[in-house]
């Protein structure tokens, strides 16, 4: 009881002092957005976090051009080369053309910049084939088409997937499909999942469907549970982060030690479809 009275007295003092309380700030940290896919070169984007005082600062100011980015596997270390890359935003990426990702292998990423160091480890899962992709009509709309991706999980346990896509000739990078992070159970059988366009803060109007004539490249990516948790968190923040009723004031789960973001291995299978009338 005495300790509670002391707490109350301290709180009352705290009230008096609270008027001059300063807004908490945090030192800048490295932000990593990296992935490695079977049969593809690894890609890593590096930027810095900004604090609340950075209201009005250009996003490009947080881009990191001079980081040392390396990937270690099979007792070898590869240095990734940074260069301007308009496919991504911010438009700068670190890529190695010395090796491609292989299913089953584990890759350790290390990023160093101005005394900061971030590390992460991921494994590329074994991919699963896409059975087919179908195109459907959108109700009350003659110019848009819906797309569904069909596949059959082959594991006797819960499995995790993320659907990504790219509109050929108009988009240079693969975007995560809206609501495209899924878990499947062995009893599910054949899976059919709608492919919605990504919700991005960098585009003004969101339309989930594809215009007629679009050529859409689809990547069905098998991911591990850790990556699934990251993407579920991500989708939640993107969809409800600024929603007054369902506000999500939680931090994005990260597998980066010493920074934010993700380093994810994708076991991918590819397919392409054209939306027709």
């Amino acid at each position: 009881m005495k300790s509670q009275i002391a707490i109350i007295l301290l709180l009352l003092l705290n009230i008096l002092a609270s008027c001059s309380k300063e807004y908490p700030a945090e030192e800048q940290k490295l932000v990593i957005e990296g992935w490695i896919e079977n049969g593809e070169f690894p890609v890593v984007l590096v930027s810095l976090s900004g604090n609340i005082d950075n209201d009005g600062d250009e996003v490009a100011d947080f881009m990191v051009r001079w980081a040392k980015v390396s990937i270690h596997f099979d007792d070898k270390t590869y240095i990734l080369t940074g260069s301007p890359d308009k496919r991504y935003f911010p438009p700068y990426s670190y890529i190695s053309y010395d090796f491609r990702g292989e299913a089953g292998k584990t890759y350790t990423l290390e990023v160093e910049y101005k005394g900061m160091k971030a590390t992460a480890k991921t494994t590329v899962p074994t991919p699963i084939e896409i059975d087919s992709i179908s195109v459907g009509n959108v109700e009350d709309n003659d110019t848009l088409r819906s797309i569904n991706v069909h596949f059959t999980p082959d594991r006797d346990e819960t499995d995790y997937f993320r659907i990504r896509y790219r509109e050929y000739n108009t988009e240079s990078r693969f975007y995560p499909s809206f609501l495209g992070t899924i878990s499947t159970r062995p009893s599910d059988g054949k899976i059919s999942i709608p492919l919605y366009r990504a919700k991005l803060k960098t585009t003004k109007d969101y339309i989930p469907y594809f215009p007629i004539g679009s050529v859409v490249e689809v990547r069905l990516s098998r991911i591990n549970k850790e990556s699934y948790d990251i993407w579920c968190d991500y989708d939640n923040i993107v969809n409800f982060g600024s929603n007054i009723f369902f506000k999500q004031q939680t931090n994005l789960y990260t597998n980066i030690q010493g920074g934010y973001g993700y380093w994810i291995g994708y076991g991918i299978s590819k397919s392409r479809i054209k939306t027709t009338k």
Binding site: Q4, I7, I8, I15, S18, Y23, P24, A25, E26, V31, E33, S47, L48, S49, G50, N51, I52, N54, D55, G56, D57, E58, V59, F62, P90, V138, Y175, L179, I182, S183, T184, S192, I193, P194, L200, K201, T202, T203, K204, D205, I207, P208, C232, Y234, D235, N236, I237, N239, F240, G241, S242, I244, F245, F246, Q249, T250, N251, L252, Y260, G261
Partner: protein, 672 residues
Amino acid sequence: MFAILLSAGIKAQDTKPTLINDTIQEITVTAKAHNATSISRHGDKISLSTHNLSRQVNILGSADAFKYIQLLPGVKTNSDYTTGTSVQGCDFSHTAIEMDEATLFYPYHLLGIFSACNNDHFSSVSLEKSIHSADFANRLGGKISVMPHNVPIKKFTGSANIGLISSGTSLSIPLSSQCALILSGRLSYLNTLYSGLMENKDNKINYDFFDTNLTFIYKKNKANTLSINALLGQDRLKCYNKESFLNLKMGWDNTAISASWEHTGKTYHKSSISFSDLKNELQLQMPEFNIGIPAEISHFSAKEKITVALGKKLSFNTGCALEYYRLLENNSNISGMPDENHTSDSHYSATESRLHGELDYLFHENWELRAGIKATYYHTSDYDNVSADPLLTLRFTTPGTGAIAVHTGIYSQYLHQTGFSSNGLPTDFWFLANSKMKKQKAFGISASWKHKIKPFNLNFVIETYYKRILDQPEFNGSVMSMIYNEFDAYDNLLNTTGFNTGIDIMLQKQFGKLSGWLSYSLGIARRKIPELADGYVPSSGEQLHNLSVTVNYKLNNIWSFASNFVFASGTPTTPILSVFMLGENIMCNYGEYNSWHLPDYHRLDLSATCTLPRKAFGKYAHSLNLSIVNAYANKNVMLQYFSYSEDDATFKFKEVSTMFKILPSISYRIEF
């Protein structure tokens, strides 16, 4: 029987009168007052008459008693997006809301802009904060009682109120000298009149609500009264985003029915049965998929209350209650996605049996001791619990000037509620104590002093309290977790402990041309949530400072003016420490849970009412009310976040402010 029912323009009555063996019959002292509040003899209960509310500040053409409850000391001032009544730092669900004897679970329209209790139908709304008697339901916080009329009406009367978004009417029909029927209804016409305003390039919004009330009174004789009360309310919101083809639907239905028989005489006796139901559903639809999150809580109760005089100075209150709950667990019902599931009948139930006894002893001319105990047996399929909660109240009456009351007690609560936010949405889920989340408990101590400042005809009330709270659930999940996974709310529940403490002060002027009240509360509500923060953190219900001033001025029989001013400390929030870009979206990195506060909230409301006297229009009285809510258009901040500006590729710190910068309204009222 000696029951002093002090009222000022209203017939407020203690739920359980003190019995003393004297020969005086019931006395009702009435006086005209323009102020709508009256404070009980010991300062532990504040009643708000609905009679004069139409001459106060109206919101969208309707005056609402629940909004005025928020202006009382110890009650949290809510923002526009927040619904519920938080008393002395407690959670919304800790407050028991009752219509006669029926529990109301979410009696609100328009996400809390006003309540589902039509003022024209009810006679008063009262608030008990921390001093309760043993017949109080198993809740940890305060109690709001919506009191229907309980005396037969001698002549046919009625009223109609026409507002900007809804209109209502109330008819009081005498059926005989012993029987009366009161019927009220209210209907919105947002979709009919404002469909154009509620549609723009991107969104189409539909919203409508209604409520109906019925009260039947049969006063067999002076000692026996039978009353039946019913409330039926419905809200339907649809928001269709044309760009994303996303259709959001939210709806909730309120049903409450109670029947009670009250007997006064040498013993006071009240028997009642009631049924309440809250049904709600949140739906997210796109052409390929549908996500529905339905929920329902049904509650049946049978109660018996008896008060027996055991001498001139001693009375005994006893009673029992049997409560039965049936809940449809919040569960996602998904179609069109791989995680497709169809919720089977996941109803579950619990029973709560209560027995209470309380001795009321006037051991000295001015000293009264009330000692009681409430025993509860709670049963659900995987959890049984027995509790015996003692309560003790000591009251001292200072002759002619006021009274002091000191109360201590232990409280239990078996019904929990939590949700995705602290805003108090209809979709916040109720659930029953079980083996995974046991009952909540509280130990409280409080003292109040009511003093009459005679020279100025003012009432002064000060109350201080401390409440220790154990096992309060806090939801740490997300909307997406319901969509992606086989959702189990218990996996996302955190068990919290904490305390609420503070001081409430009220200065009231009840009579005269100028009336009103000033209230100030200092409130601290802290919780320990080891999963989210070290040590104690402010709870979402904490409002450090809360000042409100309510002023009514009756210029003459035609013109009256009213004003409310509110200042409240900002709501606790989790600060954004840093931001970063990931996948072309802005991510925020948050600091310690609730370790920062939003900017302070303040608002000024004004109203003017012109009432044309009955003598000018025969038996009809007409009035017109003009109100302005948030008169100086203060931008009250509800949410802070970071965004990305496409125009100049910069980070932008953004604030979501109050729904209405300034909200004028006009309403016309006719009474006969």
